[in-house]
Amino acid sequence: MAEQRRPVGRVMAQVAMVMNLDKCIGCHTCSVTCKQAWTNRTGVEYVWFNNVETRPGQGYPRRYEDQETWQGGWRRTRGGRLRLRSGGRLRKLATIFANPRLPSLQDYYEPWTYDYENLMTAPLGDDMPVAEPRSLITGRPTSITWSANWDDDLGGGPDLTASDPVVQRLGDRIKLDFERTFMFYLPRICEHCLNPSCVASCPSGAMYKRAEDGIVLVDQDRCRGWRMCVTGCPYKKVYFNHKTGKAEKCTLCYPRVEVGMPTVCSETCVGRLRYLGVVLYDVDRVGAAAAVPDPRDLYESQLDVLLDPADPEVRRAAARDGIPPHWIEAAVRSPVHQLISRFRVALPLHPEYRTMPMVWYIPPLSPVVDALGETGHDGEDVGNLFGAIDTLRIPVEYLAELFTAGDPEPVTAALRRLAAMRSHMRAVNLGEPPDPGIAESVGFDAEEIQRMYRLLAIAKYDERYVIPTAYGVDDADRGVIEEIGCSLDYDGGPGMSPVNHSAGLGEASGRTTPATVENFHALRVRQSSDRRGDLSGRVNLLNWDGNGRPRGLFPDRGDDSPKERS
């Protein structure tokens, strides 16, 4: 007898990400390339759309997970409704003149540069001249005491571990003795949540979720600097540009995603651990799913919001709701969908914030393997691994606090699947017949486990990133980037003119061309034509591919003969 099925509500598509934490080596390449692309400007020196945290540790900004203090995300009222944790609409407006829960620059860090000038101008003397640090905020000498990854690799150290809000929640259950510490890296970007509390906190309605791909953005022309979104986001992934007085956040590199390219952090990830793809979800279910009473049910309810793109009924509903066929196909091939819903190894970060985050994480098996290795046991034997997962409570409980609101069950299940894959593949690699019991013990068959292995270990670029081009662009256009245009190319928009002009109404008034827009245009020209990019009037070395000599790199000499300068 056919099971009674729920009708499919309104279908929307979301570009989501999965990161495989076992592979992160903590190199920060993702953070640096993201910064170069997006936040290499004044006003956002302290802003890291992508940051990599050592866990256990405080994170960035310091202790952002302590929602007792920062009041981010949603909370469920006794009546079963969702309210912003920092207060409803009236409360927000009443406290608009000074936000009671805004992190200060000290909770991030005071950005600095060095006084390189001194290296050249210091008078001749016995001592080497030094470039002293200067605050980028005041220009005054400063001492450097903190930054975005100050406690890098110190995870597990007793001082830092003790101030990790996740550890504090575990309380006495976690032992801080050095023999049993563990550590891993957690790269973080904006979660592009299905139920974004940043959007809900914005008094001007300047923040929005794009209906086509779910990317959460700040409309720079509508933002009025009420800075409520910073408080609203429990992941502290909306930042306040202190020069322009506007909020900025990770854009999921939408100009790239629109043309089918992965985000900069994914593209440049050394560990190749990031996956991008489309998931389909039922918007009508989001509100109820985010409001389930027990936070430990949030992982399951979040899974339940996602739809199976292979299901004919879902496909019909998706087509009915205007999702183009190439998006539905992309959802079928989506590596993200496979890792989240089919293999069930990817988990959401802090589902208890009830924002339905859409960057998922494959929990690291390495703390378990390392612990086994230290005791002299075989870290690839499935029995040992399963045993260790069950007995090494600390890593599992810690991971559960991160990914499943404290429920160890899904974390254990995901780790067991990874462990089973590890043992199964060792047998395959050694030419031994793999024990079918291993795969069965985690609910897979050999073929499925090998498919998961393929996706996790050897997936190529176009398997890791399955990104359909933006709506309104059919497949024939794929790759013809010019056809799509830049979203900032509206009349008078920053994409239109490469010239900076200030209106003189205070800092940053009038239209400017953000370096990011300039970079985007230069990249576009370079990738799609055979002439060299022209950066009219301005030399941006980030865009210089080393070929030729961009105009303006050297001052005009009037003639071609080199002149000596003293």
């Binding site: 407006l93 005041t138 309605g205």
Partner: protein, 244 residues
């Protein structure tokens, strides 16, 4: 009636009005990106958490007071059964409290601006001019309140602003400026009106424009906002669900 009075009370208000409206429209069209509070809370929070709410609640009460005092004629309040004395006591009392809040708030704000390094570095010349005019207007306003109060108490009342300034103010909107009414007002009122006009002329070109975008719409919109990527493509034809 001198020519000077005509220029000050007959012509200037219209010039200021034109600058105020024209400037705002121009700024909105040309500089939406610069239209922001330029919050400095990231740099300093402790002082701001006291100063900013005190100042803003003060100035908003002051604005409401101005609207009532200038727009509602005496005959209406009398008809509502409010005696002139009662009106004056309430207006003076409330005005004094709000005015003092405003002044205390803005003093603390300015002190903070000057003494907190990062906030001072982020202060533009535009801000300084704005503060100068704003503080002068507030001081002149408080002075009028105090002088009227002293006048009431000593039994030598000043000319009532509701028979001079308010009459003139309302006459502006029907395009028949009552220059004589304004000329008859006490000097302190004239100074306050002139600084007020200066503030209005400056308003559209400073950070003060943030007051125009007071986000009352927030109370009525759904929490989650969905928007399509742009118009003119298939995307635009797709129905956007209303959030919750």
């Amino acid at each position: 009636m001198s020519e000077g009075s005509w220029l000050l009370w007959g012509v200037l208000p219209y010039v200021v009005l034109a600058v105020f409206i024209g400037g705002t429209v121009w700024r909105y069209r040309y500089d939406r990106f610069g239209w922001t509070t330029r919050s400095s809370q990231l740099y300093e929070s402790r002082l701001l958490r006291i100063a900013s709410p005190v100042f803003h609640f003060g100035i908003l009460v002051v604005i409401v007071g101005h609207v009532i005092g200038l727009l509602i004629p005496e005959s209406w309040t009398r008809a509502a059964g409010l005696s002139d004395t009662a009106y004056h006591v309430v207006a003076l009392g409330l005005g004094l409290v709000a005015g003092v809040c405003t002044l205390a708030g803005i003093s603390l704000l300015i002190w903070r601006r000057r003494t907190v390094g990062p906030v001072f570095s982020a202060t533009t010349r535009n801000d300084k001019l704005m503060y100068l005019v704003l503080v002068t207007a507030i001081l002149a306003g408080l002075a009028t309140t105090l002088l009227s109060g002293i006048g009431e108490l000593t039994g030598r009342p000043q000319t009532d602003y509701r028979q001079t300034v308010s009459v003139w103010f309302r006459s502006i909107w029907v395009l028949r400026p009552d220059v004589e009414a304004m000329s008859a007002a006490a000097t302190s009122f004239k100074v306050h009106v002139l600084t007020g006009l200066a503030l209005f002329a400056l308003f559209p070109f400073t950070r003060l424009v943030h007051a125009f975008s007071a986000p009352v719409g927030y109370l009525f919109r759904p929490y989650i906002v969905y928007r399509t990527r742009d118009t003119g493509t298939a995307a635009a034809r797709r129905p956007v669900p209303r959030g919750w």
